[in-house]
């Protein structure tokens, strides 16, 4: 398996990632990319309430959120994350103008997404949050 980043940074090691994705294969792929990049995984869930419980429990520092969770809009997660000042990436098959609901301060990535782009975006986001 090709690893995009061979050496995980400290920031990556200390950042607990939440993956919210209803498609198990994609979730599996994302988890592998994050783990390979050195991120700690806070949780991989496919349902809104599971994800909300994790966010509210304070066990994650950033999140990758699929906008459509088996037909359920993931906007409440975005709101909850934004309220806590946690950075997150919205991944979706939809283009941004097709998305409904609020996604404050969201960074959108379109599926399918190159792992490198995902990690770059995530790092940039975390950097911005740090600064």
């Amino acid at each position: 398996m090709n690893r995009p980043h061979d050496v995980p940074t400290d920031r990556q090691r200390t950042t607990r990632m939440l993956v919210v994705e209803d498609e198990p294969l994609i979730a599996l792929g994302l988890e592998e990319v994050l783990i390979d990049a050195g991120f700690a995984i806070s949780g991989v869930v496919g349902k809104l309430d599971q994800a909300l419980a994790l966010i509210e429990g304070g066990t994650c520092d950033a999140a990758i959120v699929d906008a459509n969770l088996a037909g359920v809009n993931a906007s409440p997660l975005a709101v909850s994350l934004a309220a806590r000042g946690l950075p997150y990436i919205v991944m979706s098959g939809y283009s941004s103008d097709q998305l409904r609901g609020e996604y404050p301060r969201a960074v959108f990535l379109s599926k399918p997404c190159r792992p490198e782009l995902l990690l770059e975006t995530l790092n940039a986001l975390l950097l911005r949050g740090q600064n």
Binding site: M1, D22, E23, P24, L25, I26, A27, L28, G29, E32, G46, N68, A70, S92, G93, Y94, S95, Q98, S110, K111, P112, C113
Partner: protein, 1242 residues
Amino acid sequence: MTNRDPDLPDASGTLPTPPPGSSALDDAQTSSSVMVGLLGEDVSAKANMAFPVVGVGASAGGLVAVTQLLQALPADTGASFVIIQHLAPDVTSNLSEILSRSTLMPVCEVCDEPEVEPDHVYVIPPGRDMIIAGGKLVLLEQDRYARRRGIDQFFCSLAEECGHKAIGVVLSGAMSDGTLGLEAIKAAGGITFAQNDSAQHDSMPRSAVASGCVDFVLPPDQIAHEIARIARHPYVAPARSEALVEDASGHVRIAEIVHRALGVDFTHYKTNTLLRRIARRMVLHKMTTMREYEDYLRRDPAEVEALFRDILISVTTFFRDPESCEALAQTVFPKLFAGRTRQEPVRIWTLGCSTGEEAYSLAMVYAECAEVAGSDVPLQLFATDLNSICVEKARTGVYPASIEQHVSPTRLQRFFTKEEAGYRICKDIRERCIFSRHNVLVDPPFSRVDLISCRNLLIYMEPVLQKQIMTLLHYSLKPGGHLWLGRSETAGASRALFDVEDVRNKIFVRRVGRSVPGLTFRAALGGGRTEPFLRAAPGAPLEVPRHNLPKEAERILLAKYVPPGVVISAAMEIVQFRGDTGPYLAPAAGAPSLHLLKMLREGLLVGVRAAILRAGEEARPVREERLRVQSDQGFRELAVEVIPIKVGDVKQSGFLVLFDEHGKSDRGSLGAREDSPVAPATADKIATTTNDEIIRLTQELAATREYLQAVIEQHEAVNEELQSANEESQSANEEMQSVNEELETSKEEIQSSNEELATVNDELNSRNLELSLLNTSLRVARNYAESIVANIRSPLLVLDAEFRVKTASAAFYETFQVSLTATEGRLIYDLGNGQWNIAALRKLLEELLPQNHQIDDYEVRHSFENIGFRTMVLNAQRLVPAADNEALIVLAIEDVTERARADQTLRESQDRLRHAADAAGLTYVEVDFARSRLRAAENFAAVMGYALPLEEAVDTAAGPRLLLDHVIALDRPRVEAALQDFLQGKAPGKIVYRVRGDDQVERWIESVWSTENGPDGKPLRSFATNLDISEMKLAEEHGKLLMAEVNHRAKNLLAVVQAIAQQTVKHADPATFVKRLTDRIEGLTTSQDLLVQNNWRGVDVSRLVEGQLAHFKDLIGKRILLMGPTARLTPAAAQGIGMALHELATNASKYGSLSNKVGRVHISWKVAEVPTPIFTMRWLEEGGPKVELPTRRGFGQTVIGRMAESAVDGTVEVEYRESGLSWQLSAPVAGTIERERDEPST
């Protein structure tokens, strides 16, 4: 006093004139010695006043006349004047004051019943009626609602009070008051005046003059002169001169003159009546001695007539004696109806009918009685009077309005017709009455009369005439007939002829018996009526005819000396009674018979019959002695002698039967001459020679005697025959005369009818003229109408009542292509082979039209023979038939086929357009600037969801803004701006916006605006065409959603492929990678296919299994065994389980039970509900190579393990048994299985 019934006498006595009959009753019965009783009406006896009283009646225009009258009157006439002026009841009158300026006489308004004094003027006060009674003026309460009859009322009382000293003057006034009063005054012997045409209102005096009762018609001042003169005349002056009676025989001479001139002999009229009437004429002619008047009469025939009429003057009224009328109605008329048929009219004779009132009254009462009794017996009423003027008047049957006093409204209504001049007797009553001039003393009487009314006629007559007339009336009446006399009259000396039926009402019944009128009627009927009648000598037996004395002597002789007997025919019928046969004969019970044997009293039958038979056989007289007859005194003995009588050749013509109670007397038998009544002479003292001679002579004498006797008998027989024949012919003659008289009357009637017919003819001629004029104008109108019909373009038919064509217009023939001959006179339904036999037309003609005069625009659709299918509009009118014309129907036909077709096309096209617009959701609004109107299409509300006022007048400037009202707030600024631009011509008028309807539904509307300009460039109208594009918008939205979804899924799937590729690449060389990746994508695709096939709504488990194991299709059911219920997996579960099954199958074919040729796979699944709903699925392999634990965890393990668990949120247990792999998945049903069964209930 109110509501007086004019037909009833007034019981309270305030009626000024009591029924004249009753006063006359008193006169006739109590004071015959006074100068009286001439007439029932002649109240001279009551001339209580010592001086004349002048009644002056006036109404409208009367003041001038009265003033003129008073001015011309000397103050010392010696008469008293009473002014009766109609005055307004509520206004105080200054009349007396005004009048006092015109005369020196004292004038006063009446109050307190003043005694009337000469040379005074009395004026009636307003609101009162007045009469004179007992020398005083008496005021009466005025009946406010009664017709004004104050003058009549006073004059009547004046006539009664003053008699011949009453003077009546009628001056100017309207209506007819005063006429009846003047009549009463004149009847009482008073003098009457009426104003001439100098009157301002002349109907009152004219009415009086028309009644014929006015002596002088003069202007007021001349009336005054005449009054002044008359007041001093001995006739009325207080110091009455004896001038009138100075000439004791004067009236007889005057009666002679009248007799000679007019053929009416008044000699036996009551002397005082004559004197009074003559004196009255003398007054009028200013004469003082009778000789003078006599001379005048000889010079002037007209005066003779006038005197004659004055003598006969009388007052009569309708229903004058109601009580007696009622008595007739109750007792007499019903008897007359009894047992009669229509062929036997009731005959009534009214003598002295005067002007006919009584005759008509009787006819009316008769008509009423007949109606009550339900009788249809006709009435024949003869009414006669001496005075031909009266008769003439009676015939016309017209009476003044004042008869309302005496005739009840009911009778007026029923028996009269109102005319300008008053009332006319109706035709029905008039036709029953026959009026004729007739002198009862001279002219033959009517015969077989049922009822004679002879009222107040006898009292004119001296007793001698009275008796004659009564005999005559007896003759005229049928046996049992009734006689009705006046109140003051009685049967008197003729009591023997009549029985009293009703003493109070003077109704008598004729006694049975024969009377021979003691009069010889005039024989020459055709001649004038001037022949004097013969009077019977006083005291002469009435039944003796005056001619043929010898015969009469013989009769007396026979009556005296011949025994009573009868003459009978051979058949024993009695031909003649001779002498008093009463003791021997009596009428037998049963039908009347004159058969002798039936009439013989008891005891005579056998003897008489035998004697007659013997006498017949032996042809000689037969005497039967000693017969006994029963009589009141017992049995009487008598002899009966029967003598055969021969007449001519006939052997036995009859018998004389004599009843001889003195049979033993010396007279012996009349007929039996065998025993000579002469006894043989004693001859012993006579010489023998002479003795023989004597014997011879005696014998000769006896023979001669016998011969003589036979001759006498023969003569007697002939005589008797002659007498009998004579009597018969006399009786026949009398009847003929009576019939003749009736014929005479009829002739006069016919003449009068002729007159009427001539009048009617004239009238008809004039009508004819009118009709011909009308005809001409009708013809013009007809030509006009015909030319209209000929030129009218619509077909026109005229039908008769049976729907036959009378005429048809040219347009009809043209339109329906038919000929005239095949049309006219034919039934409309038969025209042109019945092409008009249309149900709708039948309905129109036979049902609708009879109920309406006119039917408009009645549409008939029908296929006509010549011209095909047509739509016709029919206008039918029924012409109401005038007179005896037949009813016609005009039928106008209009062919509207083309119009109807065009209408239909237009209507259909409009309908299509409307349907299309409705379907498309297209509507429009029009703003009409010229008419300031906003008009929306009918479907506006349906399209837009809200209504615009239809045809609403609007302010055109604000009009378009109305369109903005329902635009949602979000779009409104945009629409408004666009509209503004459009109206200013800056932008094309097209815009899309949303409106919210009254139903709160939001609609997308696309509006296209356009404006139509007038020739001046100014806008006329603006249109807004609105299209509902909501569905289009919805579809657009849906499409966008769908695009997003497709995008999402496609990218998701690509992401999955990317993940698979990442996983697959880990432990593989490029060739293996490609194969594996391809396989896995294929598995993914399979699941995707199944999901898409099912509309992404889940996949059945068995189908998913079969899909993923498609490579092992042949093994399914053999080595791959499926077992489980039908259950549909959710898309996520289907994808996860699908991939797991794909990995399991790949693994089994590589390493497991599908890698050899015998291994099997059991795939089973179930849905358990307890304890919690759980779906389990198991993959169990057997018969494969020995299983070894995998050395490393590959992607396959992840897929059947973690990934499957994640997809269904369940758990997976994998066991690597030696016999084969076991894979078991447990997942909550929720999220795994589509619960289809629940769907319908949720």
